[in-house]
């Protein structure tokens, strides 16, 4: 029945034109954003497997979006806004917002050298600290300090007022530093 209205070739052509950037440009954009986007999703969703699924979904929605601007920062913020909304939708569906973040690594793996062992220790300190923070705080910290986004960009991604970011971010940062506590010295090294 499908052949009556749309051939496979026509569907392919429509799919091609449905994206706002070509493959080469997407490749470069993906290279610059994928790792941090996955980290963001894994941290705020609290589930690396879910982050994998949401990563694909985020890029798909991003490619299908009709975007007015072509600026790199705008595109990146738009991508993170989609990711934030997807995680929130997921939470709504689950109806029980996760308060615990699963560790990102398999703890049974033995560290290969002293440097790796040190990093694993630092990461588990960070895991524990972030587990005890609110999702909104994790989102803000990640955007500000892992992505380097400014207050206006953070407000745009999270749907908050730009004026409220400074204080909220300060509180979240304070909280994380306090939670990191003993590992502070290790992290600073």
């Amino acid at each position: 029945m499908h052949e009556l209205t749309l051939t496979a070739i026509e569907a392919a052509a429509e799919a091609e034109t449905a994206f706002h950037m070509d493959e080469d440009r997407f490749r470069l954009f993906h290279e610059r954003t994928a790792r941090k986007l996955w980290g963001y999703l894994a941290r705020i969703a609290g589930d690396p497997a879910l982050a994998d699924d949401l990563l694909q979904e985020t890029y798909y929605r991003f490619l299908r979006a009709r975007l007015a601007e072509d600026d790199e920062a705008y595109l990146r913020n738009y991508l993170f806004r989609i990711a934030t909304n997807l995680v929130r939708d997921h939470w709504r569906q689950q109806k029980n917002q996760r308060s615990l973040v699963q560790p990102l690594r398999d703890d049974t793996e033995s560290p290969v050298d002293d440097r790796t062992a040190e990093r694993v220790q630092q990461q588990s300190d960070l895991d524990r600290a972030l587990n005890r923070m609110k999702p909104r705080e994790r989102e803000m910290l990640w955007l500000a300090y892992a992505m380097g986004s400014n207050h206006k960009e953070i407000a745009g991604v999270l749907g908050m007022k730009a004026e409220s970011i400074r204080l909220s971010l300060f509180r979240a940062r304070r909280k994380l530093v306090a939670l990191l506590g003993g590992s502070k010295a290790r992290l600073r090294e």
Binding site: A42, Y59, Y60, R64, L104, A146
Partner: protein, 176 residues
Amino acid sequence: MNTTSCDQEIEVLRAVHAGRWPEAIDPALRAHAAQCPVCDEVVLVACALLDDVGTGAETHPLPSASLVWWKAQLRARREAVERASEPIVIFERVAYALGCLALLGVSLWQRTRIENWLDSLGWFSTFPYQTYARGQEFLATASLFTLWVPEWTAILAAAAGILVITFALRLALADE
């Protein structure tokens, strides 16, 4: 500088992001960060989160851009086909519904003949009496309804026609 923010914190954050912290930065900025509690916290948090990104890269491989692109293309095509065939699907459903109504209508309309035929097969003789009586009541009410609306027969015939055409179309296209 106040207790919640510092004029230099953006510069400090840029240095951390550029991988210049702490060796390859202006000594004055480093000296400032050592004394400023805000910048000190910024360095601590930014380094921890960027380390997290780095560790994720080592332990969790991500799908390539080509794979993400290919999956997105496949999905876009599938959705395009679904969108295009949506009116046909709706038409099919309406046709099936009308067909079912037509079947029911014809059964009511020709109930005497059907009854006689079933009788000739001896079907009613094995049917429990109460169920049969209730069925008779229902059929009597239904036949009154068909008498009140004589156009029903034409509508039902048209619906049956649509159903047959839909099936024929579907079969023909499936063969292609």
